[in-house]
C-alpha cells in the first residue's frame, strides 16, 4: 500500500465513485464494506426506461463495481467494519474488524464516510408480503423486480390495479422523518411509466401529499396523459386481505372514508439515516443535522474527514455522483 492511503467507509455508489476517482489519480484507497459485495443499495436498482430513457441516472453506474474491484490501487475489505480511528489528518490509524479478527491500517491521510442510508424499513417490513404480482411491496422490491424484468414484462402475472403510497416513511413525524426524501417521487413515477409501458390496461393510482421532485408541472401532465391517476391524500391504512385494500379519505368529501381494492400496493419508501450512523459518528467525531443525518462539525480540509453521498441527507444518483467526484477532487488537491 502506498504511503498515504485514503480510507473509504462504505462501498456503495458514493464510496466507489470517490475511491475510483482517487485511484485514477494515483492515490491508493481502502474500502471498508460491511456487506459481502460492493454496490450498496444502488446495485439492486432497475432501469426505468420505458419506450425511451427516462433519465433515472442509473446509467452513470454502469460497470463501476467491476472497475473498482479490478483496480490495483483499491483494496476492498468486504464483510468488514471500522471499529476505531486514532490520529489526525495525514496520519490516521484505523482498526477494522472482519470475521477473522481485527487489523490495524496505518498511514491513512484522509477518510471518506460514505455509509449511505437505510430504507424506511422498520415501517415497511411490517406491511410487506408479495407473490407473483400480488401483495404489498417496498419501493426497493419494485426496483428489484424492474432489474429482473424481461422482454415481456415485470410481473409473473399482470396486476390489474396498482397503488403507489407516496411519502412512505418521509414527511412523517412518528417515523422521526419530517423531511422530504427527494428520490421517491422520481423513482416511483418512473417505475409507473415502465409499468404503463408493459401493461397498458393496468390501473395505476398514486396517493400523494405533495409531489416535490417531479420535474415540473409538465411532467405531471405527462403522467396524467399516460392514464396514471393521482389522489391527493395520505391513506389512513392498508386493510389486509385478498386483494388488499387502501382505506383513505375521499378528497373534498369532508372526511368520507373510502376503501379501494388493489392487487399490488407499492410503498414508496424514503431515505432514513443508516443504522450504522451513530457508531460511525462516534468513531469519526461527526455531528447530526436536524433530521438525524451526519454532518461534519469542523472543516473537512483540516480534519481530513469527508462525507459523500446519502450519509449527509437524501440525494439522487447524479447528485451523489457529482458530490463524490468533488470530494475526491478536494482530497486530491490536499494530498498534492
Amino acid at each position: 500500500m502506498s504511503m498515504s492511503a485514503v480510507l473509504v467507509i462504505g462501498g456503495g455508489l458514493a464510496g466507489c465513485v470517490t475511491a475510483l476517482e482517487l485511484a485514477s489519480r494515483g492515490i491508493g484507497t481502502v474500502i471498508v464494506e460491511k456487506d459481502r459485495r460492493l454496490g450498496g443499495k444502488v446495485r439492486d436498482y432497475g432501469c426505468k426506461a420505458a419506450s425511451r430513457c427516462n433519465q433515472c441516472g442509473l446509467c452513470i453506474v454502469g460497470d463501476l463495481w467491476a472497475r473498482v474491484s479490478e483496480h490495483s490501487d483499491i483494496e476492498v475489505l468486504t464483510e468488514s467494519r471500522l471499529v476505531d480511528l486514532i490520529g489526525t489528518k495525514g496520519n490516521y490509524k484505523a482498526v477494522v474488524r472482519d470475521k477473522n479478527g481485527s487489523r490495524v491500517i496505518d498511514g491513512i491521510s484522509d477518510i471518506v464516510v460514505s455509509i449511505g442510508f437505510d430504507g424506511a424499513s422498520s415501517a415497511t417490513s411490517a406491511q410487506v408480503q408479495y407473490s407473483g404480482g400480488r401483495g404489498v411491496i417496498s419501493g426497493l422490491k419494485l426496483e428489484q423486480l424492474l432489474a429482473q424484468r424481461g422482454r415481456h414484462g415485470i410481473f409473473d402475472e399482470a396486476p390489474s390495479r396498482i397503488a403507489f403510497l407516496q411519502c412512505f416513511g418521509s414527511r412523517d413525524i412518528q417515523e422521526k422523518a419530517p423531511y422530504c426524501s427527494r428520490v421517491c417521487c422520481g423513482y416511483s413515477t418512473r417505475a409507473a411509466r415502465v409499468i404503463r409501458h408493459h401493461y397498458p390496461e393496468t390501473e395505476i393510482t398514486f396517493f400523494y401529499m405533495d409531489l416535490q421532485e417531479v420535474e415540473g408541472g409538465t411532467y405531471f401532465d405527462v403522467l396524467k396523459k399516460e392514464n396514471i391517476e393521482f389522489i391527493p391524500c395520505r391513506p389512513v391504512s392498508i386493510v389486509k386481505g385478498s386483494p388488499n385494500r387502501v382505506l383513505y379519505e375521499q378528497p373534498g368529501s369532508g372526511g368520507r372514508l373510502v376503501e379501494r381494492e388493489f392487487d399490488l400496493i407499492v410503498l414508496s419508501e424514503g431515505i432514513h439515516p443508516a443504522a450504522d450512523s451513530d457508531r460511525i459518528a462516534e468513531i469519526c467525531t461527526l455531528g447530526y443535522d436536524r433530521n438525524g443525518f451526519l454532518k461534519t462539525i469542523s472543516d473537512s480540509g483540516k480534519t481530513g474527514i469527508y462525507l459523500a453521498g446519502c450519509v449527509s441527507g437524501p440525494k439522487k444518483i447524479p447528485e451523489v455522483y457529482a458530490e463524490s467526484l468533488q470530494v475526491a477532487q478536494q482530497i486530491w488537491g490536499g494530498v498534492r
Binding site: 425511451r52 430513457c53 433519465q55 423531511y179 415540473g216 455522483y321 457529482a322
Partner: protein, 463 residues
Amino acid sequence: MRIAIIGKSPINEPLKERLLSEGLTPVLVENINDILGVVGQKGDFAIRTRYGDVEAGYVIATQGPELSNPVPEVPSLPLSGSSVQNILDKNAKQAVLLLDYPDESPGIMTEIALKKAAELARKRVNVVCLARFIRTSGGYLEQLYREARHFNAVFIKYSELSMDCFENAVVIHARINEGNETISIKTDNLIIAEKISAGEDIREMASRLRIHLDDEGKASGDNPFVFSAMTNRKGVFALHNTSPGLTNETKEMIDYTIAAIKMEMAAGKNSGHAVVDADKCALCYTCYRVCTHAAMAPDPNPDRSAMMNLEEACYGCGICVSQCPAAAVRLTEAGMEVKPEMAMKGSLKIFCCENSAKLAFERAKPELEEIYDKVDITPVSCGGEITTAGILSALHRYRKVLVAVCMDDACKHLEGNKRAKRQVLKAQQLLKSIAMDPGRIEYVQLSHAMPRVMAETVIEALG
C-alpha cells in the same frame, strides 16, 4: 491556465472571482457576435474573434436569462427584479407573491420567493405566497421555508387562478384545497415571478461553440443526467440561463464546473481516439459534420490536405469511422472494423454497445451459460460505429447478426444508437432486395441494467 468566459450573464462576476481565487485566469468575451468560432481542443482552444484570436485552455459559456413579465396586463412588480427595500419604501402592509402563473415558474423562483417572503415578513409585512407547486425538498430550501413560516408568511397552494384588476389593487381568486374551495385576496402589492427564457443568442452561441442544445434550448451534455454544466464538447462548459442572480444553485454549478476543469487539467493523455489516414482522406468534411464532439478539424499543415482528429476532444465513439465514405478513419482502440475477425464460434454474431448491451450481456452470463459457445460478441465503443458493410460481412460467417445498442435518449454520443438503427434498416433492405431473409439481422435497444432482456433476446435470436 486561461479560462474563457463567453457570453453575458449576471454570474460572470462571481465566476471570475472564483476562478481567480483558484489560481485560474479568466478571460471575458461578452458579446457573442464578436466570436467567429472556437477551434482546437481541451487545454488548447483558440477563440476566433473579430479582433483576433484569444487563447484559452477551457471555455465556460454563460448565458444570462431573459426575464419577462408573464402577465403584463396586470399591474405588478417583478419578483426577482424588485428589491425588498423598494416594497418596504412603499410602506406596504401586505404583499402577495405569485408563482406558477400562468405557467409553472422556473425552479429558481422558489428560492427567490422564499427569501423575499422571509425578509418582508420579518419587517412585519403580511405576506401571502401563492403557488401551484411549493418545492422545498432541498435541505437549504426547507430551511428558508421554515424561516418564512416562522415570521408568519402564509403559503397557499392553488390549482387555478384568475384576477380582477382595479385602479390601485388586484383581486385574486384562487381555487385551493385541490379545487374544492375558492378564496379571494385583494392586494395593492402584487409581486409576480418572471418568466425565464433562454436568451435569443443561445442558438448563435451553440453554433459558434459547436455545442448541442436540447429541445428546451439548453446545452446538453454527453450524458445529460451526470453533470448539467458539461457539454458534448470536452473542455467547454455551459452555465446557461440558470438564474437572475447568484443563488445557491448557481454557486453549486460554479463549484462543479471548477472541479471538473481541475480534473480535466489533471487527466492523462487520451488513448482511445480516431486517426485519419491522410492519403485516403478526400477532405469531404463528412466527419466534421457527423462528429458530435467537435473532434474533427482540417489539418493545419499545408502539405497535407486532409482532416485530422483532435485527440483530446475525441471520445473514440467511431461515428466518423462508420460514416467516412473513403474509409479513411480508424480507431486506436479495437472497434468493429479494426479488430481482426474472431474465429467463427457459432451461429450468432452480436455487435453491442459497450455502455449498455455489453454490460447487460455480462450480467446475463449465468443465464446464457448453455448457449455461450454459440455466440460471438464484439463490443463497440458506441453503436455509431456499426456499419451496414460490417453487418453484411458478418453474415458471411454467421447465421444471424444481433445489433444491441442504448435506449433512445441514452446515447452518450447523442445519436450513435440512431445511426446504428439506420445501418440495420439499410442492411435489412439490401437483404430483402436480393431475396434473402431480413430477419437474419436483429436489432434491440436496452440499458446496462436489463440483463434478462438481453438474455431473452439472445436466446430468441438463436431460435
